[in-house]
C-alpha cells in the first residue's frame, strides 16, 4: 500500500506500482488538469508538484511518491488566483490551453525556488514545456509579471512604455 496526499487529501494506492502518477490522477481521481502529451517527459503537459517541486507525472511511478505531497493545477490555489495564474490571465497567454496547466505548474515551481529569474533562467526552466500554439513570448512575459507581483519588486525600477497597454 502506497500512501500520499493529493491536493491536501490523503490517498492510498494498491494497484500496479509502476503506474505513472499521471494516469492515477486522471483515471482514478478524475483530476484532469494534468494532461497527457508525450508519455516520456518531453513536453511537460503532465507537470505536477511533488513536495512543491515541478515533476513530470507521466514517467513517475506511483511507487516513488510514498509519503509525498502531490499538487495538481486543481490544488495550486483556492480560487484560481495564484500569482502565476493571475499573470497568465493578465497577459492572455493561452490559445488552445492544453499545455497551460503544465506551463503554470512549471512556472510556479520556478518562482518558488527563484523568485526573480533572469530572462535566460526563464528560458532554461521553461524549455522542457512545449506549447504547439507558440505562446512562448507571452509565457515569458507572464512569468516576469508574476515574479514582480510575488516579490513586490518592480524589477529594475524604471517605467518602460513599451510594456504598457495592450499585449504586444
Amino acid at each position: 500500500m502506497i500512501t500520499f496526499t493529493v491536493n491536501g487529501n490523503k490517498h492510498e494506492f494498491s494497484g500496479d506500482p509502476s503506474t505513472p502518477v499521471l494516469w492515477y490522477l486522471r483515471d482514478e481521481l478524475n483530476l484532469t488538469g494534468p494532461k497527457f502529451g508525450c508519455g516520456m517527459a518531453q513536453c511537460g503537459a503532465c507537470t505536477v508538484h511533488i513536495d512543491g517541486v515541478a515533476q513530470r507525472s507521466c514517467v513517475m511511478p506511483v511507487s516513488t511518491v510514498q509519503g509525498k505531497e502531490i499538487t495538481t493545477i486543481e490544488g495550486l490555489s483556492e480560487n484560481g488566483d495564484h500569482p502565476v495564474q493571475k499573470a497568465w490571465v493578465e497577459h492572455k497567454v493561452p490559445q488552445c490551453g492544453f499545455c497551460q496547466c503544465g506551463q503554470i505548474m512549471q512556472a510556479a515551481s520556478l518562482l518558488s525556488t527563484n523568485p526573480t529569474p533572469s530572462d535566460e533562467e526563464i528560458v532554461q526552466n521553461m524549455s522542457g514545456n512545449i506549447c504547439r500554439c507558440g505562446t512562448y513570448p507571452r509565457i515569458h512575459k507572464a512569468i516576469k509579471s508574476a515574479s514582480k507581483s510575488m516579490t513586490g519588486n518592480a524589477g529594475v525600477g524604471f517605467f518602460d512604455p513599451s510594456q504598457a497597454g495592450e499585449e504586444a
Binding site: D27, T32, C38, Q42, M126, N129, Y136, A168
Partner: protein
Amino acid sequence: MSENTYFDMNRRSFLKSTAAAGALVLGTYFIGSAPRAMAGVLAKPAENAKRANLFIALRPDGMVEVTCHRSEMGQQIRTAIAQIVADEMEASWEKVIVIQGKGDPKYGDQNTDGSRSIRFNMQRLREMGASVRYMMQHAAAKRWGVEPNTCVAAQHVVTHTSGKTLAYKDLIDDALTITPPEADKLKLKDRKEWRYINTGMAHIDLQDIVTGKATFAADVREPKALVAIIERPPVVGGKVKSFNAEKAKAVKGVVDVIEMPAPKGAPQFQPKGGIAIIANNTWAAWQGRKALEVTWDDGANGDYNSESFKAQLLNTVNAPQALVREKGDALSVLEEASDKLVADYYVPHLAQAPMEPPCATAMYYKDRVDVWAATQNPQADMETVGAMVGMDKEKINVHVTMLGGAFGRKSKPDFSAEAAYLSMKTGKPIRVQWTREDDIQHGFYHAVSAQHVEAALDENGKIDAYLHRTAFSPIASTFQEGANAPFSFELDLGFTDNPILTPNMKLERGEAPAKARIGWMRSVSNIFHAFAVQSFINEAAHKAGKDSKEYLLEVIGPDRILDVTEQKAEYNNYWGDKSVYPLDTGRLRNVIEKVSDMAGWGREMPKGRGLGIAAHRSFLTYVATVVEVEVSAAGDLNVIKSWVAIDAGTVVNTDTVKNQTQGGSVYGITTAISDGITFDKGRVQQSNFHNYRVPRMSDSPLDVEVEIVESDAPPAGVGEPATPVYAPALCNAIFAACGKRIRQLPIGNQLKA
C-alpha cells in the same frame, strides 16, 4: 439556400420547437458523475430557454445562450462568435453564455479549417444578433403602445424616450411574437457603434484554462468507460498477420483484445486498422499493447523511402511538366538569358503534432451513437462514424470538446470511428486514447514537396522571365486511390496566385504518388510554395545586388488587382469572391512597408546578425514578417526577434489576432527546425518529441511584435497566414547573417558545415 431563407426558416422552426432541439443531449448521460470540468465547456443549454434564431436563445433569467458551431482549438472562435452576436443584439457581456454546437448540418458548414470561421459567418451572426435587438425594441414599443423608433435597445435593456425601461428578460415572450425583417432590410450597427467587435477583450475560456477546468477530449469522464489503445499497421495499407491476444490479456486490467477492420479503398478518414487493447485504465491498455507481439503484412507501401522519394521529386521538377499558368514566352527568354538564377527547394513531410493527441469517447446504442471528440469537423465524424458502424449519419450525435490544438490533424476523425466501432463491439462506452507515438506515426502528413524556380534577370536585375515547377504528393490521394496530381485547390495556395509582376511567366505542376496518408496542415501547400517563392526572390535580390526589401517591392510591382484570366489560369481564391476579396498587391506592399518600419529595416547589424523579410497572401490575408537572427561562428542559430504586419481586413478580436499571429509565426519555425517526418520501409522513423523536434521556448523569439493594419475590408483568415512566411523570412535572415543559403529543410546541420 439563399442568404435569407436560413434566417426565417431557422427562426420559425425553432420558435415552434423552442428548447426541445439540442437541449437535452449533452447533460443526461455524463453530468452528475462528471467532475466540475464538464461544466465549463460542454455547457448545457437551459431547458426553458427560448430560441430567437439558430444561434441565439434567451433564458427567463436574462442570460443569453449563443451557440458556437465551430470548433475551439485556440483561435478563440467561441469568444469571437459571442462578441459578434452580443454586440449586434446589444447584450451585456456578463450575461452571455456560449453553448458548443453539436455536429448538425442545420448550422451549415462546421469544418473548422481554412481560416474561414469569421469570414463565412460574421455577416449572418451580425444579422441574427441584430434581429434579436430588433425584436426587443419592437416588443417594448408594442407593450408600451409607442412608436418603435422612440425605443432604444442597449445592454440588455430597452429604454423609451420618456425614460421608462424594460429588461430583455421581461420581454422574451413578447419578442418572440415579433418577426424581424428580411436580412437585407435589417439595420446592423455602424462600425463606430461596436462595443465588443474589434476590441482585444479577454476570451471566455481563459479562467477555465488556467485552473484546469477546460474540458478536452480526454477529460470527458464517463465512469463506466473503458480505455482503448490501438496498435496500428506501421505502413499505410498494411494488415495484421499475427498477434498474441493471450499475452495482452494476461496484463492486469486488460479486458479485451479486438481486431479492427482493415480500411477499404482510399484512406479517406477510415481508421487504419490494427489491434485494439481494451482495458480498465489507460496504463493497463498501454502495457497490454506492448505484450501483443504483432506482425504485419506491409503491402504495397512497404517500399516507401523518403530519401529516394526526395530524389524522385527533384527529378520531376527538373523536367517539363503540366502547364498551370503562362504569360509571354518564359522558356525562350530563359534560354537566351545571360544572367540566370536557378534554384531547387525541398520541404519534407511534417506532422501537425497538436499538444493533445487524438482522442474520442463513444457510446453505441442500437439506434444511435454518442461521440465526444476533439474534432475540427463534427459533420465528418457523423459520416465517418455512421459508415463505420452501419448507421445513418443523422443518428450519430457528435459533441465537440475543446481541442488541444489541431492544425488540420483533427479534421480527419479516424479516432472517433475507432471509438464508435469498439463501443459497438463491446457494448460499453470506449475512450480511444492515441499516444504521442501513435500521433507521430499514424498521421495524415503535410505533403513532401520539391520546387524548381528559374529566373532571367535583365541588366537592372529585374525578373524578365520566371519559371516555377512544383511537385508534391496531393491530398487528393487520401480520397481517391492512386491520385497523384496536385489538386487545383493546392496549387491555388501560393502557386497559381503568385502576384509577382514579370513579362514572361510559366508555372507547371508535376505529379507525385502518395505512399503515406496526406492531409492538410496549418496553411497547407502555402508552406512550401511561399518558402520557394520568397527564398528565391531574396536570392535574386542578392544576385542583383539590391536591398532585399526594396527588391521584393519591385518584384511585386505597382499597386494593382491580380488578374490571371488573360494567362488562361484560374484560382479558387480560398472560396472568396474575387470582387469582394481581390488579390490587391497594394495591400501586400503595405504590410511590407509597415513591417520594415517596425523592424527598423536597413539598420546596421553587428557581425553574425541578420534581418530577413518575406511576404505572402494566404487565406485572403496579407502578411509580412521580418526575422532577426544571430548565427555564431560555430553555426548555432539564435532567433532574436520577429516583427509581423498583418492585414486581415476587419478583425473581431485584436488580441486573438495578435496571439494567433505570434503563434502562427512560432509554428512556422517548425518547418525550418523540425527534423521532418521521414520514412523507411514505409514506416515513419520519428516517434515522439525527442526525434520529431518542435519549437521550444529556447527556439522561439521572446518577442514577436505584431501590428494589425486597421481596415474595414471584409474579414479574412487569421489562424494560418502567419505560418507560411516564417520559414523563408528566417532562412533569408540566416543568409543575411552568415551567407549560407538554406534551400532544403530542415536546416539540420547545414549551418555547421
